[in-house]
Symmetry: D4
Subunit: 228 residues, 8 copies
């Protein structure tokens, strides 16, 4: 078995983007990676958790990259693949959850899914989420970003049949303990069907959602046409 070959095989088949986690790297390091990426326009590369300096360093090398400052994300090449698979709906409980939610949405889109984003539908005003039921029920998977009490994934999971990806955010203070409160709430969601990812991990939530909503030939091999 040739493991190195295995890896390349996966990337090639899926067309899933590579992701470069910028936080903790210097702008110079990120720029260096961007320079190397330029040679591979056949694979989409995502730069996540990029601050203004990171973004400038990437854009210096890849001027036509797409930069979404809200999400702290850059993508190159800028055009996402034509969407396939089921719809990924991303829901942000409050406007402060928008960074994580937007990161999730863009990740899912660059992994090839159709996406929709819904904002400011926290449980303190139920009518707001209930007003979006029609959209939620068209989704193959729903990502729910929420901080504070993290209650929204439970509510959404109770309203739909498809999986919910619970994305806890560090929004809040005091006994939110940097996102611990919504993380625990989502792990204890009283409705089944909630898949939890790390606090503020919009990239991971979007990636997972894209995998869930990927086209799949039931029972078939993981060859061309399938998600693998």
């Amino acid at each position: 078995m040739d493991y190195a070959e295995l890896d390349l095989g996966r990337t090639a088949r899926r067309g899933y983007p590579e992701a470069v986690y910028c936080a903790g790297k210097t702008a110079r390091q990120v720029g260096g990676i961007a320079a190397r990426v330029r040679a591979r326009p056949d694979v989409i590369t995502l730069f996540t958790r990029a601050d203004a300096e990171h973004a400038a360093a990437v854009l210096a090398e890849l001027p036509d990259a797409r930069h979404d400052a809200d999400a702290g994300l850059l993508a190159w090449p800028a055009t996402p693949p034509a969407p396939t698979g089921g719809l990924v709906v991303v829901v942000a409980a409050g406007t402060s959850d928008l960074r994580a939610a937007r990161e999730a949405e863009l990740t899912a889109r660059y992994l090839g899914r159709p996406t929709e984003l819904v904002v400011d539908v926290g449980v303190a005003g139920l009518h707001r989420i209930l007003a979006r039921l029609e959209l939620l029920r068209r989704a193959r998977v729903v990502v729910v970003a929420a901080g504070m009490d993290g209650a929204l994934p439970s509510v959404v999971a109770g309203l739909i049949s498809v999986p919910v990806v619970g994305l806890p955010t560090s929004v809040g203070y005091g006994a939110a303990f940097g996102g611990l409160a919504p993380l625990l709430a989502m792990l204890n969601a009283c409705a089944p069907g909630v898949a939890v990812v790390n606090i503020d991990n919009g990239y991971g939530a979007g990636h997972l959602a894209a995998q869930i909503a990927a086209p799949f030939e039931p029972g078939g091999p993981s060859g061309p046409g399938g998600p693998a």
Copy 2:
């Protein structure tokens, strides 16, 4: 200032029951207290967190006490005061939250409030709590007992104008961490107006609710006729 007198004065004026916390006491100790209580039929005494042995010891001394095994609570004399003040509605998210919820309801009733109990209205099925909106809106205060994700207080607080007493329960396992998850969720409720008490503290929740719903002469002295 005579502090000892102050204490007696408060108890006498309020008619609020004394409470004996049985957990951690032997049945013999609890029985001994019950024997002393017999001399004071003018003040209601509550025995909380009473297991079967505690209950037997109390009933041996006070055979006509009221015993609610679900709530682990005994009251003597058995008849609660005539209800005054606003309505206290107690809501249990799931049937497993019933012990705490029932303890809260009975405490509020023995402190002199009218009460109603609503069970099994968790957020995984929103229609259940929405179906009780008319009752919730008649309340002066609503106690919400919930374990696991502790999401219900946020939802209820968003539907009504009066305070919600959030009563986290130790229902659940794993990352519920003995009630830590719902406790944190309630402290971070995204709707304002949630008053949190200790995990499984049905007595405290009921007491607080009774105080909130107590009759009060705005701006008046804390003399006879007032809550103090």
Copy 3:
């Protein structure tokens, strides 16, 4: 049932202010909200957790807003409603608890309650809180802000008959763990009647207190004249 309408109905009936949580928002975002608020002088809007930059952005749009720098709070229109309901007394254990305490007091006042503020009455000098007993006993509810050992709510709750809102603060260091110590102390208050809110959540404490002290027609509908 029209949920969007429901929400508007509640806000209109209560006259409760809207609250904009500034922390985590940019000054530009907060300024943008302030610009939109200008069209609604009929509803009071509070800007909470506003630093100097946030405040400048709000005042640029709403020059006649009230700005309380100690509390990090702005209110517009500046005039609070005529006070109704019971007295809200806010107690700060130490001068370091003043920000949270002041935020609570102003919130309660802009929700329409008469308020009083008492400072520096920590339990290390009991005579200080005992000297204010007369005032405490006139209150319909007492908010107690305390960091470090969080012992004051227990002491105050033992001295009065009305509810105490325990407001833990992040004052302290080391084993205060950012407010965890007073939070746990208040949740375990040995006197019943303590309603706990999140660490440093002055807004929430003031809102809850205003709800508790709101005028209420016992048993009546939640129509005009009632709190809802």
Copy 4:
């Protein structure tokens, strides 16, 4: 909108089983539920976390129920639905993780998916999991139950393209802290695509996996033929 109807509608359309969580209920209570269930042979009911007493109480009412003592699970009627959708592979890192893994597998099967169970393939002997690659790559979703270091989901997610449901177990002692260690490890999995559920929550993992692997008409309504 009739919410109660909504609920029944969902259950009916999906044919997803009802689940009764037995832990914390008395055998008598569980028996009572089983008696009521007897009237609904059209819907599968699962009894989870059932100990020997619970099981006896269920079997007294539903003698032909299926009882899997390893998983602590009973199902009635005993025959699962004909499998549809993608394959659910459940992997147990060690034999001690078998209870949770088996609960997950049976849940997925009773929700209508084809399932396979693989045991004792922990990362301390990589050849064991690598020997199952062909099976893993046929799956639409893989559930990985692991305690202790919780490392297996990362490894598996790196080998396949479909989502991994990380199921931390309380297997271990000391610094495993009742499953906290594998829970944190899975939330921080260095491979994307890991969906985490609560510690020991085999039911939830199986339910989520069944939803992920459900047949779905891309872009279609959530009507008959769809997952809802």
Copy 5:
């Protein structure tokens, strides 16, 4: 330097008792230790955290040992030394704190100090502790045992000039977290002069108090007549 000799020297000079921690030892092991102790009537030996079985095993070997079942403590020989040094007052906030408080008191007495015990003077009724001010002010050190909110040491330290030994107990439930809440409260006492020991460590509190209240020749050598 002969360290072994040093140790014997210390024990002999002080006459401080040896302590055998029984919890975690079998009754047989404790009995074996008691048998060896019989040869040393010149040194007092304390058996702490002794349950009924441990006590029986000790009494079988040392029939004239003193056994205090409330404190879970046995002492042999039974007669404490003639008291020297300052007065040690031990205060128990509630009756549930009595075990730890009694253990502390007996330890201090067997280390040679005069002691007094005060029970049920929690901060929820300040008049109770204020009524004992005269006694508290005669003490050279005050041990305060309290669970739940752990507020009493702060209050006592504010009333007296001598050190307070804060003895947190595991009394309580839920967010008391086995004594964590009072432990943190005492570590953050807003009055200086509080010395904290481990949760439920009555022996340690009594030992420390006895050392604080020991007679001492200022500036003198640690020879005969001094505490060492």
Copy 6:
């Protein structure tokens, strides 16, 4: 009983300094306090946790105050009282523990005790602490400041007969968790006689040590000549 009078009485009799905790106060606020202090040269005032700005503000008002930059402490008037009572030895495990240790030493000295400071005697080189045995044994109380493993108080307490004040520091990183590791170690010291204070609380440790080493008339009233 006149509580305000009580407080003044205590301060006057003891001559114990007032302490102003500067952290969290602005330089302007601290300067304002210093200005008021100028009127009371009869009472020593300590300014603790003072950074450079705080110090400048104090010195602007009280130019002849003593400023110890290492300890972050200022004292005015600058001359400590003539030492009485037993010797307070302060031990710093490493040089990084010096700030807390020095704060403790100066506090004890300004409360009127003779003091000695010993630095860099961590347990990794036992000979260093053993070389100071003679000094340690002259002490009436020993303060031990240590971060990281917090092992030194146990070792010292095993070598001497008088109380040890364990002063955990936030020195360290990673699993030191801001001082939690040495705090827990000291609370679990395997030698009795360790009194623990809050992390980095040099002031509290010094205050407690000064109280322990204060002259005392055994059994006498807390009048003139006694510690109160």
Copy 7:
């Protein structure tokens, strides 16, 4: 590459025993494993964490197995290999740490090392550990089992040049938090050279020590004669 072969190869070459973790398994399950083991007298098998029932089940199948009840360990065949490599010294701070220490010692011996066990040498009496310096300095590695403050590994590591394996135990109560206190202390040992294992993990400590003390041909292949 044949991974399964790799595994067998390793076991065969090392002669390292297989280990069966009995806790969490039923006696019947353990007995079943013992029955299968009977066919492989060429490989030593250890049964760890075996209670009385487990032991009986093993001995029923393997009557000549060695059973060490203190360590909760059985070994079959009973004779350990002839010792090779460096000396492993195992130190137990207190008698309560004996179970873990003995488990470590026996594990190391059955992995083929010479071992020595030293008991009751806690840091509260330094002379006890100093008296064993000569033995400690003959060791190739020293395992130190300690609960409570976990201070002993730091002290020992400061006295010798070879690695110390820190083995925290759950001995203690309250703020020992089940072994968390000594675990953190050992991770923060102020002397370098401390290798920490999980709480109560005597088997792991002994295994690690045996690997450290194994004979090794510097630079040679991991073939016969080497540790692998």
Copy 8:
């Protein structure tokens, strides 16, 4: 026994470098130490956790010191000792773990061992670590630095026979909790033979590895030629 002499003896015999932990020290303090070091070219001194300012201060005194900015480490004299003992292989799971890994490698080299560094071999791509098996199997000890899920040490320990030093790093965010997640994972490694050190403690890991791989005369005295 002369303890001071003992210490010098150890340092002299081993030639192990002295280490100066710069974090928390001012550049001026570190420079002062460097100045004193200049007099001892016979002993290697390491400056760890040195930022740019620290480094400049050291280089001003010791211009020919070796400075590795990645590792935050300086060594003087710059030439490491001729390597003896077994090979130390240091593995970094990701590039972000490089600082800690490089610190470990350099420490081991300056303690006299031959070293190799391997980077970016996380478990999400198993082929990467499997491709280095030949190198891993030549090592006498392997240091594995990993953040996030901390899974790599378990995997490596399962592939080799020699000890693994698990070096958790604070790489990650959210539920990584500053390195707690990989720390717990490594403490619970499902393969025996993992020695854990503190989070980010590259120096400690390298020191421990150097001790494990040191040449040793089995059973011989700790004299010249041995590691002590």
